[in-house]
């Protein structure tokens, strides 16, 4: 095939074997691709690699109480959180929050995603757009919305009181419960988007086949549908988990200062206490936590894929 193509080319000069021409072309292509990659690489370098390197370097400096940063090389900022039970608890709470939000969010989004993936309605695209439409509103605005809904005089408490179900308002905000409720709702569009792209392997004919062979609806779901959609579910969970443990807006606004997670701790250290080295070290720890979770995810998906 290759030989035929080169023989047809009019500009073939004597002495140039077809192989060398191909090689020259490949070299040219490679150069072009490299040149085209330069803006993206430079962009990544300036906006991601350099700040990350700066952050890692910062974590080895020493931070004084009044915000003074003493340049040097010390492991103080790592030793302090790693040797302190308080920061282990903050890390554990962060992790727990991510898992709870991830599980609840995926559980709530799963039926919606399954419906969207299988529907043959002509409004499928519109329905999908509606499901992810909340992304058009900022997370800050949606969090403020939850503050209004969950507050002492909010929609939920006043409705329950009007129905006579409670005598005093429930504490639904300014605590971890409020943060989790807010995060689940805010992350749902991401979960739906991540899962729907992973539901490609779901073939309705397989379910029909299982049904025709006598499987009950429950069996079809547990033996066919769920295993086939599991990679998508895992991706959805990972997405929500990572988003929840790294966000600080929702824990700050709905946590009322009593929800202490790594992201809020980093924010407080950076802007409140001005201890940048400590904040940088906490960020590196959070990054390592991300890395560990992504590694587990990759192992799991490999297993599922194999």
């Amino acid at each position: 095939m290759t030989t035929t193509q080169t023989q047809e080319r009019p500009g073939l000069r004597a002495g140039n074997t077809p192989g060398s021409l191909e090689k020259a072309k490949a070299r040219r292509d490679r150069r072009t691709y490299t040149a085209l990659l330069i803006p993206a690489i430079l962009g990544l370098l300036v906006s991601f690699v350099l700040p990350l390197a700066y952050m890692i370097r910062m974590s080895f400096n020493h931070g004084e109480a009044d915000g003074v940063i003493i340049e040097g090389f010390t492991l103080d900022s790592y030793i302090q959180p790693l040797s302190d039970p308080f920061y282990w608890k903050v890390t554990l709470d962060t992790f727990q929050m991510g898992v709870v939000v991830g599980v609840v969010c995926v559980a709530l989004s799963y039926p919606i995603t399954l419906f969207l993936a299988r529907t043959t309605s002509k409004y499928k695209s519109a329905l999908l757009a509606i499901a992810i439409a909340p992304l058009l509103t900022s997370a800050v605005v949606r969090t403020y919305g939850w503050m209004v809904i969950l507050g002492s005089n909010g929609l939920v408490n006043s409705s329950l009181e009007a129905l006579g179900l409670i005598s005093a308002p429930l504490k639904l905000t300014n605590n971890m419960l409020g943060v989790q409720i807010g995060l689940v709702e805010i992350s749902m569009p991401y979960a739906i988007l991540a899962m729907i792209s992973g539901f490609g392997r779901l073939n309705p004919q397989l379910e029909e086949a299982a049904g025709s062979l006598g499987a009950s609806k429950f069996q079809i779901f547990t033996k066919v549908t769920l295993p086939l959609t599991l990679p998508g579910v895992l991706t959805g969970f990972l997405m929500v988990f990572v988003l929840s443990i790294s966000t600080f807006i929702t824990p700050t606004l709905l946590g009322g200062g009593s929800v202490q997670v790594l992201a809020t701790e980093i924010y407080d250290q950076t802007t409140g206490l001005l201890n940048w080295p400590f904040a940088a070290a906490l960020s590196v720890i959070l990054l390592v936590l991300f890395g560990a979770v992504v590694a587990v995810y990759q192992r799991l998906t490999k297993k599922l894929g194999g």
Binding site: T32, G67, V68, I69, N153, G256, G272
Partner: protein
């Protein structure tokens, strides 16, 4: 033709790359108008929200009417610590000229070499600032004063709470807000509670912390959002910690749903200083602005707008405004807070709150 297109694409890519690199390195200040006192721009960093709105209306707009060739660019931050953090980030190449921030934070800035001294020869109105409101080393003087008070729901409290102990009253349990450290409000509450328990807060705050631990289970929020005043106005809380100036402003805005009072045990000032950034790109125009900010005209206008007490002796307020700004004549019991000391324990006290008080909820 094909290879020509490819080279064209490669060239475009390289051009884009260089543009990106240039834009990344760019944005350096020209500094060409640093010497002009009556023209150019002044970059001011100060508080956001209603503070920004009222300061713009009462001070910046009249200043620009007086000096039409000076443009004020206002960069707003939520807190003084946010401002200091921004100034630290631009230390080697400042793009801010003037910072209006809390005294405890500006002291840190002075120590870190972020600010220049303010010279009376370029800022004539400094002469009207009494000695007690000037920096002993010549750095930025006090620009305005306020104090911390109890903010309360006027329905729940027909008469204003007279003591800090009202926060501990069981009848309002679950409807109390405080602003935990590192906020100055929380730092001040710690010092006040410690003093109420008979301690010298510079030596120990143990008893104060024990008392705050008793309050913790009744606290609705340690970080009120959107702020401590809206929490009271919307009924989320009925009593809490707040500043007099904003409390007075929101009392008017909400049709007196919220009130603010100074408890009998005494309170702490919240003092803002006006500071000239070291290496400010427009230092001459910045001094003109600082001079105007210290004029009786600007100080009176801001007191009328947001109830901050003036720091200059020649400012005269109408009686109704005077009654609502924090007294600076010694008639209000003020706990003298050692700004340097508080700056040095801010992180320790914040940790104490996080580990011992907030976890008691």
């Amino acid at each position: 033709m094909r290879s020509y297109t490819k080279y064209g694409m490669a060239a475009t890519a390289l051009m884009m790359a260089s543009a990106l690199a240039l834009s990344a390195c760019g944005n350096t200040s020209s500094g060409s108008d640093a010497a002009s006192a009556t023209s150019g721009e002044v970059d001011v960093i100060a508080y956001s929200g209603i503070w920004q709105d009222q300061y713009t209306a009462a001070v910046i707009k009249p200043f620009q009417a007086k000096y039409p060739n000076i443009k004020i660019n206002f960069a707003s931050k939520r807190s003084s610590a946010d401002m200091l953090s921004a100034l630290q980030g631009q230390k080697s190449n400042p793009n801010t000229d003037v910072a209006i921030m809390d005294q405890s934070v500006s002291e840190s800035g002075n120590k870190q070499g972020l600010f220049d001294k303010v010279d009376a020869s370029a800022v004539a109105n400094l002469a009207n600032v009494p000695d007690k409101f000037r920096n002993k080393d010549g750095y930025g003087p006090v620009a305005m004063l306020d104090a911390i008070g109890v903010v309360y729901d006027t329905k729940a409290f027909p008469t204003a709470p007279a003591s800090w102990n009202a926060l501990w009253d069981k009848s309002t349990c679950g409807k109390v807000n405080v602003v935990a450290p590192p906020s100055l409000l929380g730092i001040s509450l710690t010092a006040i509670t410690s003093s109420m328990e008979g301690e010298d807060y510079t030596k120990s705050i143990d008893k104060g912390v024990d008392k705050l631990k008793q309050l913790a289970p009744c606290i609705q929020t340690f970080a009120p959002n959107p702020d401590e005043y809206q929490n009271v106005i919307t009924g989320q809380t009925v009593i809490g910690l707040g500043q007099n100036a904003r409390g007075q402003y929101y009392a008017d805005q909400s049709g007196k749903k919220i009130g603010v009072a100074f408890p009998k045990e005494g309170t702490a000032y919240q003092i803002n200083t006006i500071n000239l950034v070291k290496g400010a790109p427009h230092s001459a125009a910045a001094k003109t602005f600082i001079n105007y900010a210290l004029s009786a005209e600007a100080q009176e206008a801001f007191a009328k707008a947001l109830f901050y007490a003036p720091s200059v002796s020649n400012a005269k307020l109408p009686a109704d405004v005077q009654a609502r700004v924090v007294p600076t004549d010694g008639s209000l019991k003020i706990l003298p807070l050692d700004v340097d000391f508080l700056a040095s324990v801010r992180d320790k006290w914040t940790e104490t709150w996080k580990r011992q008080i907030i976890t008691k909820q």
